[in-house]
């Protein structure tokens, strides 16, 4: 079903056939683009926002924004990169707009760097969970999602792009429009924070 061909490398990137078809006005092309990228965009939004309804809203906004601006997309990056960049910005805006939930956003990173207190996260039955079985363990997935939600949003989205979506540091630097060194330090701090949160289980 997926006709996406944009999985090539940095140079000589294959042409995204669906994008070409969309620009040629072929019916069903945008349908195909959405089908090809919706899972990735939605998953990213869900992990960023920790809320499925909000994730769907934001994912919808991402694709509608893409629909309006695809003609201006110059293919300097992959379409998926472009979509995730839009998604990240939308998610960060959404997080900033969360007035009612802002208080619950635990600034783990800040508190941890300031006083080194143990995180309030206490996963259940840590002794039964081994790292080599995490893939099979849905409970651990939920724990990880909760741990991600406790990360600082600015670190969270960079960590997601780096260690979940597999983008390189250079790609993230281009997307976030920040220096490469900043990207590296943010990724490292986010990893270490997450490790600390998950320390009882890992």
């Amino acid at each position: 079903m997926e006709k996406r061909v944009d999985s090539g490398g940095e140079n000589g990137r294959p042409v995204d056939l669906l994008l070409e078809a969309f620009r040629q006005g072929k019916p069903g092309a945008f349908d195909g683009i959405v089908r090809a990228h919706q899972d990735r965009v939605y998953a990213f939004c869900a992990r960023m926002l920790s809320d499925r309804e909000e994730a769907m809203d934001v994912a919808q906004e991402v694709f509608l924004s893409a629909y309006r601006n695809l003609d201006g997309f110059r293919e300097e990056a992959r379409l998926s990169t472009w979509l995730l960049k839009i998604a990240a910005n939308r998610c960060l805006n959404r997080i900033r707009q969360r007035t009612t939930r802002a208080a619950r956003e635990v600034r783990i990173f800040e508190s941890e760097t300031q006083d080194g207190d143990a995180p309030p996260f206490q996963p259940p039955a840590p002794e039964e969970i081994r790292p080599d079985r995490v893939v099979e363990n849905r409970e651990l997935g939920r724990i990880l999602a909760e741990a991600l939600a406790r990360l600082d949003p600015d670190s969270r989205w960079i960590l997601l792009l780096s260690d979940v979506e597999g983008f390189t540091n250079e790609e993230i630097a281009a997307m976030a429009e920040i220096p490469l060194g900043t990207v590296k330090s943010r990724i490292h701090r986010a990893r270490m924070t997450l490790r600390k949160i998950l320390a009882p289980v890992v």
């Binding site: 939605y42 998953a43 992990r47 994912a59 995490v134 590296k184 490292h188 997450l194 490790r195």
Partner: protein, 360 residues
């Protein structure tokens, strides 16, 4: 202090972005420092967890909502798809509608009272010499005789100079159908609707019932197609001149109707047979018209059906009429040719019989 520095490098160490010396330094420290080694292991496990996050599938509503907004294709049927039925439904409906329409048109046309007078023959561009109009009566006896065999069979009769005959044959071939046999105009004016309806083909005897239709013939002998006025000599013949008018379309042409009976009589009973048939018909509240073209020249052709009487009857008298016919002569096997698929008469409740007279 050293551990903090080493732990700050763990990401670069793991990613392989440290210079060789830095990589070796971290490796050496991790071998010696258990705490830092545990941190490094925890970091590695954390990254493994992130990599192995269970896949998340977008809910189907997402695509639906996006495509609804963009007006594109959607799993939920868009409005235009809801308005139009799928092919497996609409094609049978359309076929049924077409059949109903055909039946409706057929029924309406069938109900219309159709005149007895035959429709004009098929359009015919006369590529004939000026004398060719002699044979413009396709229902003349020679033509009628030759209409049974196909055109090729009649062709040998056309000699080198027989342009007239050849065209006659061709016309007979064209009209060699049951329909044409029953639509021959009648020369003898008779009373009743039959005579009134046959008047357009006899301009010299205008009837008040139907207006005379001006007709013209065209010649293509020259490069231009020009109307041809009928020659005076043909008007002098015993039979009335039949002029060819542009026929109505096939759909507008009245449907054929009528039945045919062959009546065989002995030579002794032949004289006055037409009058006896007429008496029977009139006795059954019908009207009769004698077939034209029964002059001596026609009789000399030894036609199988030299004469015919056309009778129009009330439908309920049809059986009685056949009964009376059997009294007058013999109806040979197959002598009653009823076109069951055709209307029996020009209007419901009437039957038109063409009684072919054959002398044993």
């Amino acid at each position: 202090m050293e551990c903090e520095r080493i732990q700050g490098l763990l990401s670069d160490y793991r990613d392989g972005s440290l210079p060789e010396s830095g990589h070796a330094a971290v490796s050496g420290h991790l071998r010696e420092c258990r705490k830092c080694a545990e941190v490094a292991e925890g970091l590695e496990n954390t990254l493994r967890l992130l990599r192995d996050l269970p896949p998340v599938q977008a809910p189907p509503e997402l695509l639906e909502r996006i495509l609804r907004e963009t007006g594109g294709e959607s799993p939920a049927k868009p409005l235009w798809k809801k308005l139009f039925l799928p092919a497996h439904v609409k094609i049978p409906i359309e076929a049924a509608a077409a059949i109903l329409l055909f039946l409706l048109v057929y029924g309406v046309q069938k109900k219309e009272p159709t005149p007895i007078a035959p429709p004009p023959p098929a359009p015919r561009m006369e590529a004939a010499a000026p004398g060719a109009e002699k044979a413009t009566r396709p229902e003349s006896p020679p033509a009628r005789e030759k209409m049974a065999p196909p055109r090729t069979a009649a062709a040998p009769k056309a000699g080198p100079g027989g342009r007239v005959a050849r065209r006659d044959d061709g016309e007979a071939g064209l009209r060699g159908t049951v329909e044409s046999r029953r639509y021959e105009p009648r020369a003898a004016p008779v009373s009743g609707p039959v005579a009134a309806a046959s008047s357009p083909s006899v301009p010299s005897q205008p009837q008040s019932a139907l207006p005379a239709v001006p007709v013209q013939r065209a010649s293509t002998s020259a490069e231009r197609i020009e109307p041809v006025s009928p020659p005076a000599e043909s008007a002098g013949m015993g039979a009335p001149q039949r002029l060819l008018a542009a026929p109505p379309s096939r759909l507008l042409r009245p449907l054929p109707y009528g039945r045919e009976v062959t009546l065989e009589v002995g030579a002794a009973d032949r004289p006055g047979l037409e009058e006896r048939i007429a008496e029977v018909a009139q006795g059954l509240r019908g009207s009769v018209v004698r077939e034209p073209g029964t002059g001596p020249a026609d009789l000399a052709e030894k036609r199988p059906y030299p004469e015919a009487v056309r009778v129009q009857l009330p439908a309920d008298s049809a059986e009685r009429f056949l009964f009376e016919m059997r009294k007058l002569g013999t109806i040979p096997p197959g002598g009653v040719a009823g076109w069951t698929d055709l209307p029996a008469g020009p209007s419901p409740g009437t039957v038109l019989y063409t009684v072919r007279i054959r002398v044993r």
